[in-house]
């Protein structure tokens, strides 16, 4: 949150709203797509804001450009790709799952598996004794019988 404050304070002369009424497309379906996409694109000059939230002029340009692409008939992916071509992967709030980014995506699940495995091994080591050896071997049984007789 403090980053947001910082970002906002850095941009001194800014308009009061993010998405302006004049940007909104007349086709509601297309507009909804544009909004969804602009929620995952990062404003290139702010600190951690999406272009949907940002008040920076460049975000407005990006929003307008995105809508142009959509109106021109681009698919969502193509429109995003067009923005990435211009500004680099930095604008993607969700890094593409390829190359080294696989490490990012796999880190959570792998850690979860490891933790579950370790946890399970620990839990098994704490099992009560009577559960660990449920039946006595024949030899143990003979020995037990002998003890009981004595």
């Amino acid at each position: 949150m403090r980053a947001l404050i910082l970002a906002l304070s850095l941009l001194i002369a800014l308009p009061a709203l993010a998405v302006q009424p004049d940007e909104v497309l007349s086709d509601p379906a297309l507009e909804a797509r544009a909004r969804e996409i602009s929620k995952v694109l990062r404003c290139p000059v702010c600190q951690g804001e999406t272009i949907d939230e940002s008040n920076a002029p460049i975000s407005r340009d990006l929003r307008l450009y995105l809508r142009e692409r959509l109106v021109a008939g681009d698919s969502d992916d193509a429109a995003v790709a067009a923005v990435v071509d211009r500004f680099g992967e930095y604008v993607l709030f969700q890094p593409p799952a390829r190359g080294v980014n696989w490490l990012l995506y796999l880190a959570g699940p792998v850690m979860a598996l490891l933790a579950l495995l370790t946890g399970w091994r620990f839990i098994r080591s704490r099992r009560p004794a009577e559960e660990r050896t449920e039946t006595l071997s024949a030899e143990e049984k003979a020995r037990l019988d002998q003890i009981m007789r004595d």
């Binding site: 949150m1 403090r2 980053a3 947001l4 404050i5 910082l6 906002l8 304070s9 001194i12 002369a13 800014l14 308009p15 009061a16 709203l17 993010a18 998405v19 302006q20 009424p21 004049d22 909104v24 929620k39 995952v40 990062r42 600190q47 951690g48 804001e49 999406t50 939230e53 680099g88 992967e89 930095y90 604008v91 993607l92 709030f93 969700q94 890094p95 080294v100 980014n101 990012l104 995506y105 880190a107 959570g108 850690m111 979860a112 933790a115 579950l116 946890g119 399970w120 620990f122 839990i123 098994r124 704490r126 099992r127 009560p128 004794a129 559960e131």
Partner: protein
């Protein structure tokens, strides 16, 4: 003069902290009781000195003493008094002073209360606590001194960032610091126990209230910050997965895990070394958070050079304390033998699962937060990790946690049966299914999030109720009032989590937004509400100029609300802010924002209907309340312990 006294007191506190770090530790090792006992007065003196220093800085802010550089940079004569005071911690130097004030406050509290703490353990705890104090007092004195003067004092100050001039944000940092720094107590106890080589049920009972208190403060601090973002930033977002937010969220998750694992140590004497590790990690994440916030290394890719000295200093503190503690841990942890045995299906087993889910969730947040930094340093790639990633990677762990929680909460210790535990939860299950079905019917299809989230929220709420009911032994309402506070606290906090679940999922799925140019006097309709912009007027505020709109909201011809969204310009910092007008309701918030006047007449207006928004913070409040109720349980009640201590003394 007052400022110099403050400065001097801070230097003295530094000296006292060095004494408190060394003498009691040596005393405890050698068994010299005089040296051991010196920890208590030292801790009190350290707190007293830092308090003097803090009061001095506050006086400088209150009296607008612009000969102090920090006051000049962050204050202004026209600012309301509340924000002159909150301006003390609205900046780096002052907030660090608040940080050490709270650190020494916790130390002083541990020295004063907990009378039945063995003197040797107390000496070691206070010594470790003082070591942290030394590090941060040194950090303040050598890199971020708040008491520096300007030779030629300017006539007026540069004012506090207008966004920070808000009651929600005035109290957000102190709570957050109380949480961050509170975890230092758990850390100090863990390191002291490692040095002592002993962790037992009594140790867990001493650590738990501190952790619980820290967790409560973190909960309140995070909730305040999120609530502030909701009403101040002008579009009603409540969580952005921003690195700085994550910095407070990671310690919260780990502290929640630590709370639960300490219960297992207290009741069953297992999970000892894991609990120690969690205590170290919880404070470690607090330090990482401090590093992220102070160095600017992650929020902005370019600012590592802006203040390398501070960043490096904190990194060194982080390395020293976490590294040192972990080294100690590798030597001493194997000696901690677990005592209790338990079957996989048992309360212990469920709490292990709780810990795994919370810790891995914190790990996911951590890796996502530092990934841009790692990618840039290792592969020279500039990339971003934000909300879309975290929502996908983090949410599954919370869903799993919510599924298991009500079951785990009622499983018996040692050994349980899943079927036996599920039986009393039939009611909760039916309730959850009904809520999920209702939400499915209302949300007309496409949102699985709302159905799953609200269903799980209802499951948590129902589970909490069943938990309470089972504790009464089916013997009715009269027993309910006499249940131990810890049982109530547990149910309230778990129910609160359910309420937050419902709030987040329904808000995200059902929110309605409308952006348009509104003409004065012409009504428009948003989600069944008829909204009219009646007038827009200019009005000066105490230290800003405001544009205030009057908007009438009605439904079915009846007026629901008359709201006044504002736009402010703070001339000193030449900065505009939006003040959304919100009508809070239990089932929906109306949220109106006024924008700029348009060329063809009319005003840009954003209107939102936000269903169940207040449930998010209501749930947080319940979680914090649950923690408080649990903290007041007689087992932990500080006075009860103190009384026992006094009674015990003659017997020695």
């Amino acid at each position: 003069m007052i400022v110099e006294i403050g400065h001097f007191a801070l230097i003295l506190a530094f000296g006292v902290a060095i004494f408190q770090m060394i003498v009691p530790m040596v005393g405890a090792a050698r068994g010299w009781s005089g040296w051991i006992d010196s920890a208590r007065p030292a801790a009190l003196a350290q707190f007293g000195l830092i308090a003097i220093s803090f009061v001095a800085l506050t006086l400088a802010f209150v009296s607008s003493d612009f000969s102090v550089l920090l006051v000049y940079e962050n204050s202004h004569t026209a600012k309301p008094m509340l924000y002159k005071i909150s301006g003390v911690w609205g900046n780096h130097e002052g907030s660090m002073l608040l940080w050490v004030l709270i650190l020494s406050l916790f130390g002083a509290a541990a020295a004063t209360f907990d009378a039945n703490l063995p003197p040797r353990l107390r000496a070691r705890v206070l010594s470790v606590q003082a070591a942290i104090g030394v590090a941060f007092l040194g950090f303040i004195l050598f890199t971020s001194n708040p008491f520096l003067r300007i030779e030629a004092p300017p006539f007026d100050g540069r004012d506090l960032n207008p966004l920070l001039q808000d009651p929600g944000l005035a109290f957000h940092p102190p709570f957050l610091y109380l949480g961050y720094v509170g975890l230092s107590m758990a850390f100090s106890f863990a390191v002291a126990a490692l040095i002592e080589g002993r962790v037992d049920a009594a140790w867990a009972r001493w650590v738990r209230p501190w952790t619980l208190a820290a967790w409560i403060f973190l909960t309140i601090g995070i909730a305040l910050g999120s609530w502030w973002a909701y009403y101040e930033l002008g579009w009603g977002g409540f969580w952005f997965w921003d690195p700085v937010e994550n910095a407070s969220f990671m310690p919260w998750l780990i502290a929640a895990a630590l709370l639960h694992s300490a219960i297992v140590v207290e009741k069953r004497e297992v999970l000892k070394s894991w609990t120690i590790l969690l205590a170290i990690m919880a404070f470690g994440f607090s330090l990482i958070g401090t590093f992220i916030v102070r160095s600017g290394v992650i929020t902005s890719v370019h600012s590592f050079a802006s203040d390398p000295e501070r960043g490096v200093f904190i990194l060194a503190i982080l390395g020293l304390f976490v590294g040192g503690a972990l080294t100690l841990y590798t030597f001493r942890a194997p000696a901690m033998q677990a005592k209790g045995v338990f079957a996989p299906v048992s309360r212990e087993g469920a709490l292990v699962l709780n810990n795994i889910l919370l810790a891995v969730a914190a790990f996911v947040v951590f890796i996502g937060t530092v990934w841009p930094l790692v990618a840039e340093m290792a592969w020279d790639k500039k990339l971003s990790v934000g909300a879309p990633f975290f929502e996908k990677a983090f949410t599954p762990f919370m869903l799993a946690l919510a599924i298991v929680l009500p079951l785990g909460a009622i499983l018996p210790w040692k050994r349980g049966k899943l079927k036996r535990a599920l039986l009393p939860l039939r009611g909760a299950l039916a309730f959850a299914a009904a809520v999920a079905a209702l939400v499915f019917a209302v949300s007309t299809g496409h949102s699985a999030l709302a159905v799953i989230g609200a269903g799980l929220g209802a499951w948590l709420l129902g589970g909490a109720a069943v938990d309470l009911w089972l504790r009464t032994g089916n013997s009715g309402l009269s027993r309910l009032a006499r249940l131990p506070r810890a049982d109530w606290g547990k149910a309230i906090a778990h129910g609160g989590l359910g309420v937050t679940f419902i709030g987040i999922s329904l808000l995200m799925a059902w929110q309605v937004e409308d952006i348009r140019v509104a003409q004065v006097g012409q009504p428009f309709t948003v989600a069944g509400y008829e909204i009219t912009l009646e007038k827009v007027e200019e009005r000066p505020g105490p230290n800003y100029d405001a544009t205030i709109a009057t908007m009438r909201v009605s439904k079915n011809g009846r007026q629901v609300a008359l709201l006044h969204p504002e736009k402010r310009v703070y001339p000193v910092q030449a900065m505009p802010t939006t003040e959304a007008a919100i009508q809070n309701g239990l089932f929906r918030d109306l949220y109106l924002v006024i924008g700029d006047p348009q060329q063809g007449g009319g005003w840009a207006v954003r209107s939102y209907v936000k269903p169940f928004a207040s449930w998010i913070w209501l749930g947080c409040a319940l979680m914090a309340l649950g923690g408080l109720v649990s903290l007041s349980d007689r087992r932990y009640r500080v006075a009860a312990g103190a009384r026992r201590g006094i009674v015990a003394q003659p017997a020695e």
